[in-house]
Symmetry: D4
Subunit: 252 residues, 8 copies
């Protein structure tokens, strides 16, 4: 239930088209009760202003489709992250407008938040980090931000980064996606004076211990100004970046 629908309800109360008792019934159950958890998210969406998101990992293809059907009915934009191609096939049966971002493993419905505002720069260290980087990029875009990408920038190629000083300068927030030793986040944070979000990835082998190595690297960074999210959590990084950009509206 977005803000427009709520305003519409109140206007109907005022005009008498809706009785107070009917409105009460709607409002009382509004945040969570009736239709199950979908409504909770309505409430959250109302306050948060960003599109609904389904985390698909561990769900069946049917579950993903059913949840998306419900959400699509009440939201302009819906994302489903960690979605497999087969999940998309299932979803597209009943939601023809859904699109699939294969590399980023995201099913997207709707046009995203507009107008766009603020630039998120997504930097990734290696080819294998791309799925996580794309998850961040697509999410950031759908939530109403400009997204720039700087991919395949290993620590061994720092000069590539430096040449993009312009990009580094114009971004509001920088997301650094890196597996293996994850040193890239420290290097980037040493070059700029803006919020850097580190996303360690499970890319690597042996003593990377499924992403523990880059996670610890980013947490221990000697460069200040890095906030770290969970291993492989491209979505979370974009959510934080979006919150950072929108936070300036707070001030009055």
């Amino acid at each position: 239930m977005d803000i427009e629908r709520l305003r519409f309800l109140l206007e109907n109360v005022k005009s008498g088209h809706t009785t107070i008792d009917d409105a009460l019934k709607d409002l009382k159950n509004l945040p969570y009760e009736d239709l199950g958890f979908a409504r909770i998210d309505h409430h959250r969406a109302l306050r948060n202003g960003y599109p609904e998101v389904v985390f698909c990992q561990g769900k069946t293809e049917e579950q993903v489709r059913i949840i998306m059907e419900k959400l699509v009915a009440h939201n302009r934009t819906v994302l489903a992250t960690r979605a497999t191609p087969r999940m998309y096939q299932e979803v597209s049966k009943s939601i023809p407008g859904a699109r699939y971002h294969e590399l980023g493993r995201i099913i997207e419905f709707g046009a995203g938040v507009t107008p766009k505002k603020g630039t998120i720069l997504v930097i990734s260290a290696g080819t294998a980090d791309l799925p996580v980087a794309e998850e961040a990029a697509i999410t950031g875009n759908a939530w109403g931000h400009f997204v720039e990408k700087l991919y395949d920038v290993g620590v061994a190629g720092i000069h590539r980064l430096l040449d993009k000083q312009q990009l580094l300068n114009t971004a509001r927030v920088i997301i650094v996606v890196a597996g293996m030793e994850g040193a890239l986040a420290s290097v980037v944070a040493g070059l700029v004076d803006k919020p850097v979000i580190g996303v360690p990835t499970s890319v690597g082998y042996g003593a990377s211990f499924l992403g523990l190595a880059p996670l610890l690297t980013m947490l221990n960074s000697c460069a200040a100004g890095i906030g770290v999210v969970n291993i492989d959590n491209g979505f979370g990084a974009a959510a934080l970046a979006s919150a950072i950009i929108r936070s300036e509206e707070t001030e009055s």
Copy 2:
């Protein structure tokens, strides 16, 4: 090596003033040499605008004093974090204007950045988390931000948090400092739609494993929009918060 110097080199090759072998040697090391990177750093220093900070842990009292003397000579504001009372005694011998924040373990010199801008809300879970919370609060203040505090808000007392909805609403960034199980960061992030910085602390015992428990809790939070810093790293949280607030100037 800027484009002019490169052109000059090639012209010398063409004219024969430089042998091909000498030019080859120059070009082989091309991307990193001379002034290129120093400029970046200079640039960073200019833009950063925040006070110098000394991390005292693992240094002797004399080392802290000597370093502070040098910094005080060229900076309006200097902070020394993780400083013991004896370090402060040593420092105050030669820097009479230095003040000591005992709870936050910070020696502060100078007036801090002015005018102030943007509000950081620092929330802490328990009494034992206060040194870390204060480290964040003092740093945020010295770096030119308004700081509000909401201390001793355990998960068992969520209503305290909710009662402060006004505070939650006006802050630009929220820092949540919590040890033991660290659940507070998730709860706060579930209530607001703004950037939350989680600072796990080593407060606790047994299976807290020196802060590992709240660190994992915050990284795995089901609420989006949390960036995590190192265990006990109050300073780092304030640095990230400051970068977030200042980032809006970036945009043009």
Copy 3:
């Protein structure tokens, strides 16, 4: 060996019917031998009164069927946990009365303990936690307790929990099933004054480390009154809940 048998032995020594060496041999092994311990076990079986349970994980389909056949012959109710659909197919060949709870992965035979007594409230954090939550719910029901469910209550939707104050109030024991960061157990324990059983789940990814994160969270909870069971151990939680409810009969 009870006191009468001991006296008899000594009398035989005195009278010479038993040699000292034979008596020594008997006495050396005194505390553990004869019927002592068997009796305990018998006693335990009598008092336990709960249905037999088979843990299917790591067993073949045939093994599960054979074990269930034996148990069904001597028990009114038998549960088989962590059972796959194919295990159920195999079991239903020879035990037509067996039912399968697909979500909770349990094969159930018999009517369960009656009359029912005491209410167990099972709360779960996310959709992916449902198999574990159902394992707890079905077990609790089969063992003779009323079971209420409150599913999909993330930390971000605490208000849902609060609206169910009535449910929270009437339950004797509350089981909280949560993966990712597992903060829900702390929040629930902060709201009630009754035993809370925390079941961390392996739901999550990255730094959840297969359930380590919610496990540590629950163990370090700042709210008192939480007992934690193994990761994904819905059955164990129900067993503990059942023991808690039945424990009041102990008192005399």
Copy 4:
């Protein structure tokens, strides 16, 4: 916000006394504001009925004294756990009625909850586990329960346990405190059909890894009906035991 206030708001919208925009603002923050949550807490305070507890670890002697002074003014019974002898000296300056349990490291003020109800049996494995066992025993007693103790029962001396079958039978809840390998909890849970609370301790060395070994042992117990609390958390075990005993009043 109760239903009456919501109706009142809508009537004001209808009558025009409240603009739609003002109503919208109110409704947006609906679930958390006013008195709702405070009431819960009040409610909890009323129902809890157990004495206030101060966790002293990490606090200064003065802090402990000041906190206790405040609590003593409004509570009949106050406990301070993990208290050092010097903390007690400080506290006894201004609270002459305070007593110190040296082994259990608890400062106790007041007579405890009366009348007593329900028996907690505290079993410990070794001499070095006594401080944790005593912390549990003293807390259980102060909170209004009978406490029986069975100390120094290693796995190598199981027969001692069996001889106390009477004790095992009359207890409502059994707390098992064990370090090193922590196997005692499994053995006890195998002998009884009542709730067992496992408290791993940091007693041991080498591969005990500060209590990790007994913690894992207890969590993986093949005997059902064990709830585990944090390493060395004797207080938490008693709190859970108390909640279990009091839970039977819930039922109506």
Copy 5:
């Protein structure tokens, strides 16, 4: 090359049927050179007196067959541990006398060491531990020892163990195979005064962490006299048991 073949060589030297140079050639290259690593094992077999063993895990079916063919040519008994049924099919193509122990996952060729000597008692905690227990039992038998088995003796069924006091008394060495919490090794070591070999298994889930839990349990046992081998290492336990039994021949 067993001791008989070596004696035969020396007798031929003595009698002149083999020249010293030919014998030298044989002996000089004896320990490792010629045929590759197979010969090393010959040498080891000579000194160690036990049959050759192939560890199949990580090898292809063909590799297992080829290695066994070589070993069978020079040894009376050969074992292949961690062998799959398909490895056995491959091996039996060229070694018709090979037998397969499916539960213990061992291919055995030859009659084993005779005459038998000394009794190894293999105790296991649960059904799922049987493959490891059988690996130990078959190996112990093939290496020339009597093997008694006591399977499915959980900590919850200690009386079964106690009832078998006779078995416990006659064994020279006891191997305890246990997963989950692994407490059984402590219990057994508390009942007897003879060497106990603990074999933690990866049986379990969640906080068993693939066998870490029982491994730590056994290492921290409060009962003296336990030696621990690697997780799931039934073979290693039998090898140690065999060395213990044979060690008495050392003395003179």
Copy 6:
């Protein structure tokens, strides 16, 4: 209570010097009841045949003295391991016959078990491993075995080991004490065909992680026939070695 005292009691019953009721009283309470845990150990001593041992770590000096006084009254030999010099001073006040092994940190009372039987060879890798090695050596000697020592044999000095082939050959059991990487146990087990007991030590730094490194090394040894005890557990190694040597009496 050793076997002689038990025989004496029975003879008195037979001869009539002790009434059956008096004997009953003695025997009934024998294993554990009356005087606390000291009696349990009497019983254990009876069945196990080895001297009493006190583990001093975590006990006060007074506690050690009191426990030793009780044990000395009923035992020919008593050991106190992990004893500090100050504990010895306290003990020697009331037990003048006690001796202190400073390097091995053991207080010894009595002559030890005689006659001696079987040789234990204790090998240590470095100087810093000596306290653990000596703990093993002194215990083995006190429990009635010959002890040979081969100290400071690092992996870099394997030839020292090989030169002692005679020593390796005559020992019944070999205890290898090694910190840092702990490879010595593998090397020794590769040279002999007898039971090897590995004792990882906490000697080392950095990635030794307090003994985890040598612990894992020994558990994963590619040489068969190694049983591992807890980190720094020299006593446990000697206890296992003693059980191995005594186990041969079992057979009949």
Copy 7:
């Protein structure tokens, strides 16, 4: 772009066949810009002098083929490590000259660096370590070094190693590849006085924890002169060995 092509460009500038502006354009973008990441590697190849390498793990067969096609166009030698047989089939479609080393999992194109220089000795502990050892050996050979192999040298067969003293003596660098307990690296480093590179492998089971055990063993080696690379990183070991051999040219 190798050194020859760069020299050619400069000669064209000198001779006037290329204008300075055209050369500038080439050179300015040289290290990274235009064709994507392939050029970075050109630059690196130029400075490093070794062939291009593709790390195939986590890439699709098509991705591997496309990357190799680009690299083959500009390099004399290209290696693709961690390549599956199906990747090779795909690659060989368009690069007929590519060869596949099945055991070492490497696709190799080109003749390798010549002339050869310096000997790398690759020692491996067990058969299962061969893929990693071969990865090192093939890489070392392709990068222009002589490679000697000494495979299947377990700690139990140290004499094999000693017999190869000649090999040990002539090598410039020794790479030791070992899983399980990894003690071989210590033993080798104890025998020689030259750089030893330890490669722990994930070969093993149970407490090897996917290679953690040999990793810690090698890091804690009591023998000086060992540098350790990541678990299973045969390529990295060869790269380090190659850098060591080439480093002597540095000196002037």
Copy 8:
């Protein structure tokens, strides 16, 4: 046992001077006995040519003095690492020529190896890493190498590194000492084509976990050519660097 001795043995068998049984006994222990291994060691000592080193950690002041006295009697240069000032005081009583490097915690006796050869560059990340860096520098110097230092080069100040291109170019080996996140080693290895030795340090706090973070970072470096030594092991890094420099003499 060399070939002559073996021939002699066989001749004695042939002639009857040695019985077959005696010959068998000799041959059974063949590969390891007499002079073979001692020679290796002798050989190693001769070739090593580097000063004796005492690792002082865990030794008493007296032990250090006694060991140094012995070594000083037979060696031109002796180092004692991890030495405290009080150890130095003790040592200087009897060895007046000993010098103490306070920052590097090394006692040095003698002039070191001369003439010097090959340059080791020691780079450190932060002030707190200096003790480890100095340990490496002093050792490298004493062992006969030129040592250059580049201290306090954090990842945030990469330009400092780049400005020292000349230093990077002339060094034979580079040792990088870094705590916290340890990213410096990756950055350095990305800039040069020569062996880099990474020394993680325990400098840091929280999620650095005593050096685990930089250790994992360095092991997972995406830049090839890094060998890692134990946490804080400056000495080991210098030993490896020295072996690398001296290795070129090997070739003939």
